[in-house]
């Protein structure tokens, strides 16, 4: 247990890097085999190179697990939250909500709200947050839509802004 808590992030990342080769082997044996490209010569075998990487990653992951278990890692990586970790998680939640609503409500309705919300969460006053959110969104839209001809998400209300 005393080797897990101080290296919590190391173990989480280790699990990711252990899972990755397993996914590669699984996909090679299923999807790539079904497509008939999991064996044969170098030009026909699309699984050859990914499998080599998977073996390499697996070896490195095992080696790293050994280092972790023996405590041979120079820097610890505990799950120690700071005073503002909760704020960072709230911001991440807001961003996920933003991504979910963006295709439906469009850029011009969602982005000023997100920006104003973030500014307010970070401690900026309400009026300044509102003004800041609107100005940031409009300036960015003006550059991308007006100058670079990018079509930003219009949503169901089809608000095009500068487009």
């Amino acid at each position: 247990m005393n080797r897990i808590k101080p290296f919590a992030y190391d173990w989480i990342v280790w699990a990711l890097f252990l899972a990755l080769p397993l996914v590669i082997f699984w996909q090679s044996a299923t999807s790539l085999a079904d497509q008939g490209v999991a064996q044969g010569g170098p030009m026909e075998n699309a699984a050859l190179f990914p499998r080599m990487i998977a073996w390499g990653l697996l070896g490195l992951a095992i080696l790293n697990a050994g280092r972790l278990m023996l405590g041979r890692i120079a820097n610890s990586s505990p799950l120690t939250p700071t005073a503002t970790t909760r704020l960072a998680l709230v911001v991440s939640g807001c961003f996920v909500l933003y991504l979910l609503t963006l295709p439906y409500l469009g850029y011009h309705l969602t982005t000023p709200v997100l920006m104003a919300l973030l500014l307010n969460l970070f401690g900026v006053g309400r009026l300044a947050s509102l003004a800041g959110g609107v100005v940031m969104s409009l300036v960015t839209a003006a550059v991308f839509q007006g100058l670079l001809n990018v079509v930003l998400p219009v949503g169901i209300f089809e608000i095009t802004g500068f487009g």
Binding site: D10, N64, R67, T84, L87, A88, V91, S92, T140, F144
Partner: protein, 497 residues
Amino acid sequence: MFDLLVQGAPLFLTWQAIVLTAAGIIAGLFIGVLPGLGPLMGIVLLLPVAFHLPPIPAMAMLIAIYVGGSAGGSISAILLRIPGTPLAAATLFDGYPMAQKGRSQDAIGLAITASALGGLLAGLVLLFFSPILAAFALKFGPPEYTAMALLGLLTIAIVSEGSAIKGMIAGAFGLAIATMGTDEFTNAYRFTFGNFNLTSGPHIVPVVVGLFALSEVFFQIEGGKLLDSPQIQKLRISFRALRLITAHKVNLVRSALIGTFLGAIPGAGGDVSAFVSYAVAKRTARPEDGYGEGAEGGVVATEAANNGTCGGALIPSLSLGIPGDASTAVLLAALFLLGFFPGPELFRNNADIAGGIFIAYLVGNLVLLVAGIVLVPFFGSVLKLPKAWLLPIVLLLSTVGTYALQNSVFDLWVMLVFGAIGYGLRRAHYPLAPIIIGMILGPVLENNFRRSLLISRDGLSIFIERPTSAILLALAALLVAYVLFTVIRGPAKPDAN
């Protein structure tokens, strides 16, 4: 050498390229000044904009951000004792004491001047050596390219910050991501999980933006002090540094060359070259020069080396297609996406583009010399910008820029996923640069590996039958042996913080 410049001049000498070079330098300086951000962040944030521009103006803008951002970090190191970028960490040894003695104006002026002149010297080296290296690499076949890509990736993975084994894991992770999408030889879908958005694999831009920008936003929020605004001394425009630097000619040239040399070694990076140059300058200085107490030579050495590294890192990047650091890896990605392949073919088939890039780098350093000094009064104002305002701007630019690439909300989810991965990796002290370099070198490595096996009559033996690939692979094997030795020997001393 000059043929390239002549061929590239018509492409560069347009109002768009010149204006974007100047804008890139200014943007790079401001991004470099802000602690926590840096040239890489600047390139990442403006990468999506570059794809809406013609090739040379786009590359000129990104290279200018690289040059300006590398120099900008010194300003906060001098004024606040907080390096804006890791590249400027060594600058505070003498830059901050100079500011404490009331010479912040001189320190900033010297830092900018040394950066620009160091960058120009590196540009000349780049101009001379890149075509030679590219001409040599023209003789390479698939086995040599395979060995070179493998050695390049291993070098970067091992030399990157943190443990070598973590660097290698990160590099392998990048290679794995690069295999996603449609296989070039069989047209089979690999690891797409039935999602049509992944038929070309994840786009490199959302991956880069997620790993670097998004994870940084999360880190900065966790760091707190969102409304803090530091007190900055009043600054004014002064060209005095141009006279002061004449007393440090030898130091300037030596440091720029050290920076260029170390920059050309994949993975060595600007921070290493700045510390090495500082150590050399200090060793060769007289005791009365007072290194560590506000010596002008200390600032000149570190900053000339920093920007020398930029030119150095472009040498293997452009001539071999092997990026020297994370910033050049993203620059290479930009060049790929603009339709050009870095490496010897660039010099043979698109000499005008190579020449245009060289001119952009040289002009960028000239603009830095002027803009860096003229804009000094504004740097103080930028440093006063609280994180509460800066972070939403970074998030907004990341989001809109990433979306703009392919008008795809899916790319934003990719960005978010890689933001979370980047955060976890940074918390676990994994370097992020090898992931990007793995993604870029992955297709080069795989295609040449499979082609080598096709032309080989005896499987893998082709790699040791050809002398160049055998030498490169022997070097790669030595690097792996070194990593295994460090693993067996045990960990290094923990960081002080």
